[in-house]
């Protein structure tokens, strides 16, 4: 029983998609496409839910992990929508 709101962490239908690669840089593919200032992240799930390329997956705290960075098209949706200025692009 809790009297307050629970931060929105509704799972989206994406979970079904097969995971490809979790961290592009771990795979030696160079810089990831995005920088995540995760200490500002509040795990609201917006970036994860709205990325058209399904680049993110939530970590244990609900914060975004770059699960499929190579799919990122730099469409800007995630960083334009992140209310907490967590996401910046590594490309100009």
């Amino acid at each position: 029983m809790a009297e307050e709101k629970t931060a929105g962490k509704a799972k989206t239908e994406k979970e079904k998609k097969p995971r490809k690669i979790r961290y592009s840089f771990q795979e030696g593919k160079g810089l990831p496409p995005l920088n995540l200032y995760l200490h500002w992240c509040k795990a609201c799930n917006i970036c994860i839910a709205f990325c058209p390329q399904d680049v993110f997956e939530p970590d244990r705290d609900g914060k975004p992990m770059l699960a499929r960075p190579e799919e990122c098209t730099q469409c800007a949706i995630c960083w334009l929508h992140c209310p907490d200025f967590v996401i910046t692009s590594n490309y100009k």
Partner: protein, 198 residues
Amino acid sequence: MTTMTNSKNNKKKKKDANDGRFELRISGSGGQGAILAAILFAQASGKNPKYNVVQTQSYGPEARGGASRADVVISTNEIYYPKTMKLDLLMAFTQEACDKYFIDLKPGGLLIVDSNLVTKVPTKNSYGFPFVRMAREQIGIAMVANVIALGVIVELTGLISHEDMKAVIMERAPKGTEEKNLKALNLGFDLAKKTKRK
């Protein structure tokens, strides 16, 4: 830890409570139900006509949630000063809360923490249980972690009867969730009993 709270002798506990005031704090981050737990505890204490009860809390900016702590003072005497002065019991759901409020705990006061979320515990004189994980895994919703904790507090302090606590839970639980909440409460009772026996 006061004699009242860690004594295994229930008679002694009751007497101590009669003698004076018992101060308790439940703390965590917004959304963990700390305030509600304190209110439920206060309400259950109120069922005992011997007790005077005051429950207070602190707020974040304006009233927009984020309240991080709630206190309860129980006394058989009239309660003049309504806020806590030195805690007999501190329940901390987060490391931050534990760090921040441990200083308010009486020497020898009882500390209870969520053992998964509070990893650095500043005293040995403490109980730790993975409330949130247990709630998620054993009851199916993380939200009842506070009810499990309530069970533990009730059992460990012995200030309130199980029946009064259960009655309050039944009164206040949203329709359809009564079962799960009761289950959580009982889980708390059991946890505490087992631990005490240890």
